[in-house]
Amino acid sequence: MNEPGSNSQTVSSVTRSSVGPEVAEADASCRTPLTALFIGTAFWIFVSSVLALVASIHFHSPGFLADSAWLGYGRLQPASHESLLYGCCLQASLGIGLWLFARLGRTTLSLPWLATAGAGFLNVGVAIGVGGILNGDRTGFPSVDMPGYAAPVLLIGYLLVGLSSAMTFHRRTEHTLFATQWFLLAALFWFPWIYTTGQLFLVQFPARGVAQAVIACWYANNFQNVYLWLTGLGAVFYFIPKLTGNDLHSRYLALLTFWIILLFASWGGISASAPAPAWMAALSMAATAVNLVTLAAVGLSAYRTAQPVPRHGPSVLPLRFVLFGVVAFLGAGLMQIVGALPYLSEFTDLTWFGAAREQLNVLGFFAMVAFGAIYFIVPRLAGFDCLCPKGARAHFWLSAVGIVLAVLPALVAGLVEGLRMRNPDLGFVAISQGTLHLLRVSTLGLCLIALGQGFFLINLVLHVIRSWRQCAVTTYSTVTADLFKPAGVKS
């Protein structure tokens, strides 16, 4: 199909094929499920950022909340991490995917009620999972930390929304596929496989010995560096052309990115220090190094497509989010390669470096791209824009500054820690005390992030309330139009 340039951006001037429905009609069909998914996204990222903030205070005051088990660092931190991954990222990726499948396929959403039910299951699943973690039922594997009893609910939710996505894709009237659809389709299939693998081999029927740790690394890598990359980059390849009004620079660069991610990214994630057979770490390292091609392709494609960047208009803010996400993607990708190289990984392994990289990837890249997409999609769902632009701008700046403030100090702390760890004469307490002032800045960053997500949640909820009210007013005036007509003009 045509690249999503400026022509098809507004509802009035569309270049749709004759058989497809009106764009407005397609958007309206997405309204209920997407509102549910996006409100869930905003709610869980707010919860996650508040939990992360409270967890990080533990570093500065060892006696903080020490009398309650469920508010300990080792429970708040995974609760925050899992609600970010499954509450925010998974839901946002599904919501954006639904909308893009409908929009790019020039069709209405198939089985919207199924997707709405799926959104309900997802939110209930995440709530059960986060509650379980706080209750002490975490599995202990980062990214698969939700207790086993939350997983079926979450998986049912995913499958219901996924079925709606697949049916929408199947019923498309525009048969030429745009780059974004490759990414989304692969991701749609990717998640259930890795999730069931993680649950079966780690939680329900745990593998024996260190194989568990290898599978946990494989899962975390496939979720954060394949699933989130596929959905995030899929959105980037759609929204940058859409928001700038330019054509996608090169379909072949997108194709290259797609194949490299598919073939190589899923082999990363096994660290050289793990007590596993050495070939695994070596293979992982080689596969991670190939990601340099992905970074170059994405960077070049985004740079060439985004020129010239529009300075005014309603698309500026969503574009800012997406471009911030692309820069964060490049940064996180470089950090991943640095962290996998044989000599450098001795300094970066097992330090704050890994945590900083993950935060930059998940929050800086994926969540920011998703916010940009949500700010673009939400006004179109309702048919009118009730989002407060000031709130949205505050959300962007607080998130952007917060992420930089949270990630950079943690990155420096990781490098400092890694260098000092090489000197065995330096006591460990001295090393960890040496990183504390950097972590204080990081906590400040988390504070800004939490504040920004608060603005996001309030803005989105108010938008939904206002759009409902407007809907009600419009419906009321249409229905009662006849009643209030002067008696004389009755026809």
Binding site: F59, P62, G63, A66, D67, S68, A69, G72, Y73, G74, R75, Q77, P78, G136, R138, T139, G140, F141, H170, T176, L177, Q181, W182, L185, A186, W193, I194, F201, L202, P206, A207, R208, G209, V210, A211, A213, V214, C217, W218, N222, L262, S266, W267, S273, A274, P275, A276, P277, M280, L350, T351, W352, G354, E417, M421, P424, F428, V429, S432, Q433
Partner: protein, 308 residues
């Protein structure tokens, strides 16, 4: 790239490849790993942890200890140390062999090296070189011991004697290797700090045992109660001058007991085929086979809580 099925198949085969590589292969390669004897000794390693320590692993998991503590000791290499343990009867031949091993060594210096045995005379990273040295010394009638000393910053820090291997976790479920070191590595904490009371005091208020420790306190694992007519036999004994709750006694809950038992059971220091380890002989032991002394395992005997 205009066909949905094509993209589906691409994703299917790509994911199937990495699934077989990193999910199925590790289970085939490591899933049937069995306990084995330690190097040069019939002691079986690893043995299952005692029941209380197994419960402690679940407390460790639930409270996220692995978020800040790794259990993976890294090793950058291995140093082979040849130590002369017995000078034999033919001193001239031994001196000649020493001079051959260390070119530029004067005869009197070499003769002086034969005093105060055992004494390390050669360090090498190459197995052939070390074996040749042992052989030339034994040909001269002396006896030499070959020691295997793992190297690396973690080991110099005292966090272990050798690197962590897959066999160390054979009986653990879940296997919590940790991914970050906000606190020290715990793979061998039971060797470093075998005292249950120390572990419990440290859990209650870390700064009583480690000055300026940034570790969050785990007071929720303990009960604080006024000292009544009878002192609880389980109450913690804090180091003098650090009692965080004067007038009260701090009694560990069963979870705290279990967690401390688990920590004390963390001893991954047995010499294994895949991670050899042989200390430099300290006493006058005369043998030219790799010494296998100092074998400690996580056997139950080491984990019995000390009555406090």
């Amino acid at each position: 790239m205009n066909y949905g099925p094509l993209i589906f198949l691409a994703a299917f085969f790509a994911l199937a490849g990495s699934w077989f590589g990193f999910v199925i292969t590790p289970q085939v390669q490591m899933g049937r790993q069995q306990p084995t004897n330690t190097l040069g000794s019939p002691v079986t390693y690893p043995v299952s942890r005692p029941g209380l320590a197994r419960q402690g692993l679940q407390v460790y998991r639930a409270n996220g200890c692995a978020d800040c503590h790794s259990q993976q000791v890294r090793q950058s290499g291995t140093l082979l140390v040849v130590a002369l343990t017995d000078r034999g009867t033919n001193q001239a031949a031994v001196v000649a062999a020493l001079q051959k091993l260390k070119p530029g060594l004067s005869g009197s210096d070499a003769a002086r090296m034969l005093q105060d045995l055992p004494k390390p005379i050669l360090s090498s990273t190459k197995r052939q070189e070390a074996d040749a040295a042992v052989k030339s010394l034994s040909t001269a009638g002396a006896k030499a011991a070959l020691s295997i000393v793992p190297q690396g910053p973690d080991l110099e820090r005292g966090w272990g004697k050798r690197r962590t291997v897959a066999g160390d976790f054979l009986y653990d479920n879940p296997v919590l290797l940790g991914s970050q070191r906000v606190g020290p590595d715990l793979a061998n904490v039971g060797v470093r700090l075998p005292d249950m009371n120390w572990e419990l005091c440290h859990l209650y208020w870390p700064r009583t045992e480690v000055k300026d420790s940034p570790m969050p306190a785990c007071r929720f694992l303990f009960e604080k109660r006024p000292i009544g007519s009878a002192h609880s036999p389980d109450a913690l004994v804090f180091p003098p001058g650090t009692d965080p709750a004067p007038g009260c006694e701090i009694v560990p809950l069963p979870e705290a007991q279990a967690l401390a038992a688990y920590l004390v059971s963390l001893r991954a220091d047995a010499p294994l085929f895949e991670a050899p380890l042989a200390p430099i002989p300290a006493a006058a032991v005369s043998t030219n086979t790799p010494a296998a002394s100092g074998i400690t395992t996580n056997a139950p005997t080491a984990n019995t809580p000390k009555p406090s």
